[in-house]
């Protein structure tokens, strides 16, 4: 159970959120779905005297701008799955959302932006944001700024957020991308030890490959000579290409570093095969 006396805040404006964060710093925690934060507080692993619930902002979960799609901080996996157009345009995203461990109860509660802000290596959303070329709208006392994924996700449990800042939304180009998504867990109840996202613009272009849960932060794989002229990938070259680039594999109770290093290549290749049709 939560053992710190905690004050719950539900401001109705971004400025209201910032004010509380600025006053209390690390003693305040931002609450999206709470699916990471609250269990950790219950186990005494984190302690905060202030919780700031973003749901009071009343943001629209998914909105469309000029050539972009914006996910509010409070957008859940279920919100994504409910947007048929989005799922059709980003099938890898849809696959990831549908397969999140924890089933419907978790999908209805947990938020993608929250997962990126928590940034544990074995999460799926961070790598997906990288694959989508997402940016995060960081709001703080000094105002707002947009931070791209690679600059936002800095390390295990470490993002570019200062204690008095929060992420209000994430946005990415509204460019339909065909995709292949593969996730590997040791057992159904565990967390991923490796994810691979292979995507290509539907209208044509180079395939991109991002690995999640293999290293501390999502790993963009430079496909180099494995890319064919038409932007597809020579699947048989993927493993070697990946092997050379996995230099600091993550280790945790789900799997050690050696295991992640070994499986990264095959998992990536399977994502490519899923994208391009083939063995998988």
């Amino acid at each position: 159970m939560i053992r710190t006396p905690t004050r719950y805040h539900r401001p109705d404006s971004a400025a209201g959120v910032v004010e509380i964060l600025a006053e209390h710093g690390a003693d305040a925690a931002v609450l999206g779905g709470g699916t990471w934060l609250l269990p950790m507080m219950g186990r005494g692993e984190r302690a905060h005297h202030h919780l700031v619930d973003l749901r009071g902002l009343g943001a629209e979960s998914i909105s469309r701008g000029e050539g972009t799609i914006e996910l509010a901080a409070t957008a859940t996996y279920e919100d994504v799955l409910a947007d048929a157009e989005l799922c059709a345009a980003q099938p890898a995203l849809a696959a990831m959302a549908a397969g999140v461990t924890g089933g419907r109860q978790l999908r209805n509660q947990a938020t993608l932006v929250g997962s990126a802000c928590h940034q544990t290596p074995s999460s799926e959303a961070p790598a997906m944001f990288a694959a989508l070329h997402a940016e995060f709208r960081v709001v703080g006392p000094a105002g707002e700024r947009w931070v791209d994924t690679d600059s936002f996700l800095l390390g295990a449990l470490h993002t570019a957020l200062a204690p008095e800042e929060f992420v209000a939304a994430a946005r990415f180009p509204d460019t339909p991308r065909v995709g292949g998504y593969v996730k590997v867990k040791i057992a159904a109840g565990g967390w991923p030890v490796a994810t691979a996202i292979a995507t290509r613009p539907e209208a044509g272009g180079d395939t991109e490959l991002v690995l999640g849960a293999v290293q501390e932060v999502p790993l963009r794989i430079g496909l180099g000579s494995a890319l064919a002229e038409d932007g597809t990938v020579r699947a048989e070259e993927v493993e070697a290409t990946v092997a050379a680039q996995v230099t600091e594999p993550w280790a945790d109770l789900q799997g050690d570093a050696e295991y992640r290093r070994r499986i990264a290549g095959p998992v990536a290749r399977r994502a490519v095969e899923r994208l391009q049709g083939g063995a998988a």
Partner: protein
């Protein structure tokens, strides 16, 4: 120990047993577990646990905790010395020649495992109590720790109990014949090893206690425990109270499995805290606390001697169990069945098994379903497969050639008088049911496609009903049946249920004896004020012993009621009356009388109407399997286990070659637990045991880091099997009744854990065989299997 002359009491082929009573209550969340028990004014306890695996407690000051919000009292080990006597052992190692040690309710001078209780705080809420723990100041002087078996047995190992001189708790030999001499002579030998890791049973409901020290020095303890009566007895001693002033109530249990054997410090601790704070005090285990408790970690090194036909001539197995630290819990003793279960279902006359319990600074073991028998099963079944591989024989055939034949029961081997069985029949039934030939054919085809497909067999002999005279782990139990003037029956029994449904079966059995509807039979368990002294549930014996006793009591009452009915029906002979459908009738079928009507008459007219001579409809009986040998016979043989259910298992796996992940594609079994009272409950037990064994073999583990810290603290790091991980099991049944039990039952509940661990280990090794690979250390998870593949390919 001759077979019984008593009419055995199992259901006829056309009888069906009830649905689980209270099933609807459970599904609607209406079950009352210990955490649901609410007493006015209840306070909550939190426990400060050692952060070190091995350290001296230099000083401890709990006073600062008293300043924290909501805190009512705080207690250290030194302060508790005057409040609680040393804790009795669940099964003291010294009873069987092992070393022992004294334990108090809270550590005083030393801590010997991460998690060992050091101090306690009571507050108005558990949040306040937990928060107050950080105010307690403890100064530790860290000592070197021994975490793994090799560290504990090394020359310069830190000695965990100084007075012992070493870290060997006990070394138990099980031998027959001349193993060494026969191994010398054997045409063929091979050596092997199997390393089983630490994991546990992870009951859905962790344990908890609510202690209430009332006026006039009366104590009531609500406990999530499997053994309320022994707990009451030991509690009285620890608290210094007459046992008449102590009451233990075991509410519904959400899983026992041995995890809830009594002997924990928190049992008397909440009572003492209640006395100190003047209110009921509740403590419930967190999942992190619960995951501290260990089991199942063994290392086997064996040598087998056999002939060209695959007949085992002799073997040796050296077993080490990392039992964690010694405690007063019922776990270290699993090293006994781990050795005693050999040679399992096989006819081997020369063997030497040595089972050593090694203490380390891991948290202690408590009982875990299988109780060491699963360990012996994995080793034996690996032996069979290794022989088969060596000789190019089918593994099923090797087993057939070694089974004790069906005609030779009852059968003696070391420390076991096997009751009955048809091992070959069970295996053959399994192979036919599962179409073994077709599975092998399919395997050949898939191997040709480069797939890593494995077929693994296992046969598990599961001794049950263990009786350890000198302890409170006994093989007998007692039930009272009490019938009311309105013809309803209440069964009060000393056995309890871990959630298996045995109360439903007991009610059904009694109703059947009396010819009434089981809705008219109430079963009361777990309250020491109401129930006769009994030993609770363990070793799969509750229905056998407690149900058997209830049947005997019901029969005595039926005789008495029959006498009264005969008087009322004006019949000569009460013995030919038929009890059915709530009525009592003559065999000719004409005159009958209501069962309730007769019961009422007994109370209204006893001693007044000639022939109705007893005004009491209550009977108490004790029952036990008549197959114990506590005193060595003329050949020096003893047997502490009376019943021997068994099961045959087949597991088909496919290994993802690139990821090392094992997919269990098929699982089939044939189970024989003697007479079956409720097929539904028995099947549930076997399925659960298999799921537990597969989960442990493939995914669950309780690792420690080099510094002695336990790493699996929640259910995302201790990953149990989920529905999507396992196939539907194909189930078959064989029935060889026990000649020695009232019901013909042998006990259900544990068989399957070992069979599953063994069959999947054999299947994975079978899958790796074409690569020349093997894996002899569990768990068989992705990383370990991939490493085995990589090693084979290098």
């Amino acid at each position: 120990m001759a077979p019984l002359n008593v009419e055995q009491a199992g259901p006829e082929a056309d009888e069906s047993v009830d649905l689980r009573r209270d099933g609807d209550v459970l599904l609607k969340g209406g079950g009352v577990y210990v955490d649901d028990v609410e007493l006015p004014g209840t306070l909550h306890a939190a426990i400060l646990r050692s952060p070190h695996p091995h350290a001296k407690i230099v000083s401890i000051d709990v006073a600062p905790a008293l300043e924290r919000p909501g805190v009512r009292c705080a207690l250290s080990g030194a302060e508790a010395l005057d409040l609680a006597a040393p804790l009795p052992h669940f099964f003291d190692p010294s009873i069987v020649g092992g070393k022992t040690a004294e334990f108090r309710v809270l550590a005083v001078d030393k801590v010997r495992w991460v998690g060992e209780p050091v101090a306690a705080v009571v507050a108005g809420s558990s949040a306040d109590a937990e928060a107050a723990l950080e105010a307690i100041e403890v100064v530790y002087e860290e000592l070197p720790a021994a975490i793994e078996i090799d560290e504990a047995l090394a020359e310069d190992a830190p000695v965990i109990f100084e007075e012992w001189g070493d870290n060997v708790l006990i070394d138990l030999p099980f031998a027959e014949g001349e193993a060494d001499a026969e191994l010398e002579k054997a045409p063929r030998t091979l050596t092997g090893e199997i390393n089983l890791h630490r994991f546990q049973t992870a009951p859905m409901e962790p344990r908890g206690y609510l202690g209430h020290w009332q006026g006039h020095d009366r104590v009531t303890l609500y406990a999530s425990t499997q053994n309320p009566h022994p707990l009451r007895t030991t509690l009285a001693g620890v608290l210094g109270l007459p046992e008449t002033r102590v009451r233990v109530v075991a509410p519904r249990l959400g899983g026992g499995f041995g995890h809830k054997f009594n002997g924990y410090a928190e049992e008397p601790l909440v009572c003492i805290l209640s006395k100190l704070s003047g209110a009921p005090v509740k403590w419930v285990e967190t999942r992190a606390d619960s995951l501290l408790i260990g089991a199942r970690e063994y290392r086997h090194r064996f040598t087998i001697g056999f002939d060209d036909d695959g007949q085992v001539l002799a073997f040796r197995d050296r077993i080490w169990g990392n039992v964690g630290c010694l405690a007063t819990w019922g776990g270290w003793s699993m090293t006994y069945p781990a050795g005693m279960t050999f040679p399992g279902p096989y006819r081997v006359k020369h063997y030497l098994v040595e089972s050593m319990a090694v203490v380390t600074n891991k948290a202690p073991w408590n009982g875990a379903r299988g109780y060491g028998k699963e360990s012996a099963c994995v080793a034996l079944e690996r032996m069979m497969d290794l022989i088969a591989a060596e000789l190019g024989l089918d593994p099923a055939e090797v087993r057939r050639r070694n089974f004790i034949p069906a005609g030779e029961f009852p059968y003696w081997n070391s420390a076991k008088h096997l009751d009955s069985g048809n091992y070959e029949g069970a295996l053959d039934q399994l192979l036919e049911m599962a179409d073994y030939e077709e599975a092998r054919e399919r395997q050949r085809e898939e191997r040709a496609d480069g797939k890593l497909v494995g077929v693994g067999l296992a046969f598990e002999l599961t001794p049950e009903g263990g009786d350890f005279a000198g302890s409170y782990v006994r093989g007998f139990d007692t039930s009272t049946v009490r019938i009311s003037p309105t013809g309803t029956a209440t069964v009060l029994t000393g056995v309890t249920s871990p959630g298996t449904g045995n109360e439903t079966s007991i009610a059904w059995l009694v109703a059947r004896e009396l010819g009434i509807d089981s809705a008219g039979v109430e079963v009361i368990q777990g309250d020491t004020d109401a129930c006769p002294f009994g030993f609770g549930n363990f070793s799969s014996r509750s229905l056998s012993a407690g149900g058997g006793a209830a049947v005997l009591a019901a029969r005595e009452l039926r005789e008495r009621i029959a006498k009264a009915a005969a008087v009322m029906l004006e019949r000569e002979d009460p013995k030919d009356l038929i009890f059915a459908g709530g009525r009592i009738a003559g065999p000719d079928g004409d005159a009958s009388i209501g069962f309730a009507e007769v019961c009422e008459e007994v109370f209204r007219r006893a001693y007044a109407t000639p022939g109705i001579d007893e005004g009491r409809l209550e009977a108490t009986h004790t029952d036990l399997p008549h197959n114990f040998q506590h005193i060595p016979d003329e050949l020096g043989r003893m047997s502490a286990y009376p019943s021997f259910p068994y099961s045959a298992h087949l597991c088909v796996v496919e290994i993802d070659r690139e990821l090392g992940l094992v997919d269990v594609r098929r699982y089939a079994y044939v189970d024989d637990c003697g007479t079956v009272i409720s097929p539904r409950f028995v099947e549930g037990q076997v399925n659960g045991a298999i799921a537990m064994g597969l989960g442990g073999a493939l995914w669950e583990q309780l690792p420690y880091d080099a510094a002695g810290q336990p790493l699996a603290r929640h259910l995302k790091s201790y990953v149990t099997a989920r529905a999507g991980d396992l196939p539907s099991f194909e189930a078959g049944r064989q029935v060889t009744p026990s000649p020695f039990t009232t019901l013909g039952t042998k006990g259900a509940g544990e068989t399957g854990v070992g069979g599953a661990m063994a069959s999947v280990t054999n299947a994975v090794n079978d899958a790796l065989a074409p690569l020349g690979g093997h894996i002899h250390s569990l768990p068989l998870n992705g990383p370990n299997v991939l490493a085995a593949i990589a090693e084979a390919e290098s």
